[in-house]
């Protein structure tokens, strides 16, 4: 079935900011911190996660500055160790894991499925408070001396050999974990129970499928990290000896527990990004996503397979050679759905009518960076190769390509895409595109040299390094400066646009999702009346007819 679609953009000049919307319906600080509205909670999350991103980013800046020279000369070794530990803990547990589900998911899931709110609004607010309490533990930990275990808390180093604030850091993660679990439960219930009439599973936007997969991981994996963190605390405080070989404990057990969460968590970080990319590619190609079912099921497949690959972090740690075989094979299999997605997104652009607005530029960057990140992941899944590459900068480069190149690009695409919906106003388009291009260039310059450093054997988490590695490290640090500019630009123009940006209107991109068929910013109750879904997702012909109907009314 192929039909042609010509979609004309709505007239922007007559658009007005609606008099009543969720931003101004209630006023005062209390109306925000006690709100039950999913859109306001999303904004609370946005502010808190961006705050943590700045802390993690500042730590990264000092790390790159230290690595300009081979000698450890800017900060002390202990300080350096604390910096990369804080960078890792904050960026993983307080930025990457929560930002996409809790910000984009919270704001968009009810709007996209045609609901007035999430199923459990009070639980939603509670999860934000838990997140903030967990975050306060981390802030306390940072202010009163930091932690130097790395974000991986490897035992017995973290339990018996360091004297920093491990307990504080672990408790922060423990508490924030409940926030993840509650968010996951909330989304699952919402997606099952709150869909608008006519919104069948296969009419859902692909964004919803990937957030559903994310929520499953949240609910099933997070309890395990919670247990691991509690055991760390008990081991330090009471000395129960579960991880202590001197008492018959097994330090490798911790690694199993830790990675049983932390590997699926990687997909918690990337799956929402994949959801964003599906929406953006379709909208800016004015074309339905190529192979809807394959993309939907590959999200679910990733979520399922992600639970059976954790020991690929331990190939050199003396796990049995045969279990290494199984985990390597499973890791190869989990790479396949990601490959399918990349090809399907690329094919979506074929014979589209492509617009290169800011979200699309970020998406093109995502496709390139995520492909590199994914393929280098296959290097690491290959058993023999992993022996040489693991624990080096190759790993660092690989997961930054996926997490920063992939996820942060997708996140930026998402924030720029839905910004007009959230605020009702447009940002300066040329600055947006410039920031997207700077981010892409800066990112590659920062992290590509690290692949070469990794193959040379430069170990990760090194405060000083042999002098022949300096040239590549200088490239990397120089790239980090450019990358920082790419991040800072949106920090300037997005807040500016809240007051001075052009008024967006309800559907500036001509997107098909239900969230675009209501006013921007939406009402507190999202829709004046619950919409009835009578067409498939990404149906641009329906949109055309719908626009004409609205115009004639």
């Amino acid at each position: 079935m192929s039909t042609s679609t010509l979609v004309t953009l709505p007239d922007q000049s007559t658009a007005k900011i609606p008099k009543v919307n969720f931003l101004n319906q209630e006023n005062g600080l209390l109306s925000w911190i006690l709100t039950l509205d999913h859109k306001r909670i999303a904004i609370l999350y946005l502010i808190t996660t961006v705050f943590f991103f700045m802390i993690g980013g500042a730590a990264a800046a000092v790390i790159r500055l230290e690595l300009l020279t081979p000698a450890g000369d800017l900060v002390a070794a202990d300080t350096y160790n604390k910096l990369f530990s804080i960078h890792g803990i904050i960026m993983v547990f307080f930025f990457l894991v929560p930002i996409a589900p809790a910000v984009l998911g919270n704001f968009l899931i009810p709007l996209m499925i045609g609901a007035r709110d999430v199923a459990l609004p009070r639980v939603n607010l509670l999860s934000w408070y838990l997140f903030v309490i967990g975050g306060c533990f981390e802030l306390y930990m940072i202010i009163f001396g930091g932690v130097d275990t790395g974000w991986t808390f490897t035992t017995p180093l973290s339990t018996h050999y360091v004297n920093t604030h491990v307990v504080g850091a672990a408790m922060g993660i423990f508490i924030a974990g409940f926030s993840s679990i509650l968010t996951g439960i909330n989304f699952i219930v919402t997606i099952h129970k709150m869909r608008a009439p006519g919104m069948t599973w296969f009419r859902l936007p692909l964004f919803i499928w990937s957030f559903y997969a994310t929520s499953i991981i949240f609910v099933l994996a997070t309890p395990v990290i919670a247990i691991a963190m509690v055991l760390i605390v008990l081991e330090r405080v009471v000395g129960i000896g579960v991880f202590d070989p001197a008492r018959g404990g097994d330090p490798i057990l911790f690694q199993h527990l830790f990675w049983f969460y932390s590997h699926p968590a990687v997909y918690v970080m990337i799956l929402p990004g994949m959801g964003v990319i599906s929406e953006v590619v379709s909208t800016f190609s004015r074309k339905r996503v190529f192979g809807y079912t394959a993309v939907a099921f590959s999200s679910v497949a990733i979520a399922v397979f992600s639970f059976f690959v954790w020991a690929h972090h331990m190939f050199i740690m003396g796990i049995s050679n045969y279990s290494a075989l199984v985990f390597s094979l499973m890791t190869m299999l989990v790479a396949v759905p990601s490959a399918i997605k990349v090809f399907n997104w690329s094919a979506t652009m074929y014979k589209g009518s492509i617009h290169f607005d800011t979200p699309m530029i970020y998406t093109l960057g995502f496709l390139g960076l995520f492909t590199i990140g994914g393929l280098t992941g296959v290097f690491l899944a290959t058993l023999g190769m992993d022996i040489h590459l693991t624990e080096t900068y190759f790993i660092v480069a690989h997961f930054h390509y996926v997490m920063v190149g992939g996820m942060v690009s997708a996140l930026m695409a998402g924030i720029h895409f839905w910004w007009p919906k959230i605020t009702g106003r447009m940002y300066p388009e040329s600055l947006g595109r410039l920031a997207a291009i700077i981010l892409f260039i800066g990112f590659n310059l920062t992290f590509f040299p690290q692949f070469i450093l990794g193959y040379l054997g430069m170990p990760r988490r090194y405060w000083s390094y042999p002098p022949e590695f300096q040239v590549l490290n200088v490239f990397s640090s120089a790239g980090a400066t450019i990358l920082a500019i790419g991040y800072l630009l949106p920090f300037l123009y997005l807040p500016w646009s809240i007051t001075y940006g052009e008024i967006a209107g309800s559907n500036p991109w001509k997107a098909t999702g239900l969230e675009w068929q209501t006013q921007s910013p939406p009402l507190m109750e999202n829709f004046p009346e619950i919409p009835i879904m009578d067409h498939e997702a990404y149906d641009y012909d329906w949109l055309e007819r719908h626009q004409q109907e609205v115009a004639s009314v």
Binding site: A77, L325, G352, S353, G457, Y540
Partner: protein, 358 residues
């Protein structure tokens, strides 16, 4: 060049002459690993090129000004099957190739020379069978398989020699092993790659690869006088192990002659093969490793013997065959790998019939 400041110019020159892009290949494994690496790079480049071609091609051909009307395509089962099966096939090739290499790196050959390496915050201590000790350095000859038996005394460490493309975690409380055969004389980096605390980045050293002749000279010049097994013998006596573990009929513990490599039945009913790891656990945690027919009376030596001490004891018990004393001479300066090679099969021969029957 007068528009570049001389300092900057010197700096740039120093850079360009000290600039590594690819690690040296100094072991038999290195070239095999690199072949796999280049295959992976090639496949990745092809995959990336396909994606970039589709994306950039579509971007140019279907820009909205040139192509104002999108053509709605639902999907194509055939195409999707293609880009599922081809990557899957390639991934499976990588999996098999990688698995073969992995088993090779972590399965030391029987004739490998064993060197013990103990990791501790923040140094590496290598113990050669002839009793030579070295810190943050490892001297090895070319053309001979070397097995490293690793253990950590405190936290996780990881022993990495990029020029050999091998790496293995040193774990507290457990032996791990890796092997290599050096092919190029030279000095190479040795790194700890598992984050291990404050001075992680100072836990580095040098691997010195020498010709066999130079290696013999180095062995002779570095010996402490006693072999590892002799150190172990002394420890065995001073800890009074021989009070119970002796060949007399009244002995309260099993006779250890020829025990290495044999099959034991424990009181738990389990049958095990005696290897280094078993000997180590039997010394440190004897109550869990009682040979069938003996009373669980041995006290634990946890905390009383250092990892180096355990290694010496293990090495002593390994070499304990009936004519052990005759073979040993106090002067170990003449230790050569050849002698050990002759010993190894002899040890196995005595061990095979030495299955303990109870």
């Amino acid at each position: 060049m007068n528009y570049i400041s001389p300092v900057l110019w010197q700096f740039l020159r120093k850079w360009l002459t000290h600039f590594a892009l690819f690690p040296p290949e100094a072991s038999k494994m290195a070239s095999q690993m690199d072949a796999l690496f280049f295959f992976l790079v090639l496949v990745s480049l092809v995959g990336l090129t396909v994606v970039v071609l589709i994306v950039v091609g579509s971007s140019m051909a279907y820009h909205h000004r040139r192509h104002p009307q999108a053509v709605q395509i639902e999907g194509s089962t055939l195409l999707e099957a293609t880009w599922t099966i081809i990557p899957l096939g390639l991934f499976l090739v990588m999996f098999v190739w990688g698995a073969l290499l992995y088993f090779r790196v972590y399965t030391p050959p029987a004739n490998a020379m064993n060197i013990y390496v103990v990791g501790k915050q923040w140094m590496w201590k290598a113990e050669h069978p002839g009793g030579q000790h070295e810190i943050d350095a490892l001297h090895v000859p070319i053309g001979r398989p070397i097995q490293l038996t690793l253990i950590s005394q405190d936290v996780f460490h990881s022993f990495s020699i990029p020029a050999f493309r091998v790496k293995r975690e040193a774990i507290p409380g457990r032996y791990t092993s890796v092997w290599f055969e050096a092919t190029q004389v030279g000095t190479y980096h040795l790194f700890c790659t598992q984050y291990c605390g404050t001075n992680h980045s100072q836990m580095i050293g040098e691997v010195v690869v020498m010709t066999p002749d130079d290696y013999q000279k180095w062995l002779a010049g570095s010996t402490s006088g006693d072999s590892l097994a002799q150190d172990g013998e002394r420890l065995f006596a001073s800890l009074s192990c021989n009070a119970c573990h002796n060949p007399t009929a009244a002995a309260r513990g099993p006779n250890l002659v020829g025990v290495y490599g044999s099959h034991l039945t424990l009181t738990s009913g389990q049958t095990i093969t005696v290897d280094e790891a078993y000997l180590r656990s039997a010394i440190l945690d004897p109550s869990e490793h009682v040979t069938q027919g003996y009373a669980p009376i041995m006290p634990t030596y946890q905390g009383q013997v250092s990892e180096e001490g355990v290694i010496a004891l293990v090495e002593y018990i390994k070499n304990l065959n009936s004519d052990y004393r005759i073979q040993q001479t106090l002067n170990t300066t003449g230790f050569s790998p050849n002698i050990e090679e002759k010993q190894a099969p002899a040890g196995k021969a005595t061990a095979a019939p030495g299955e303990v029957k109870q």
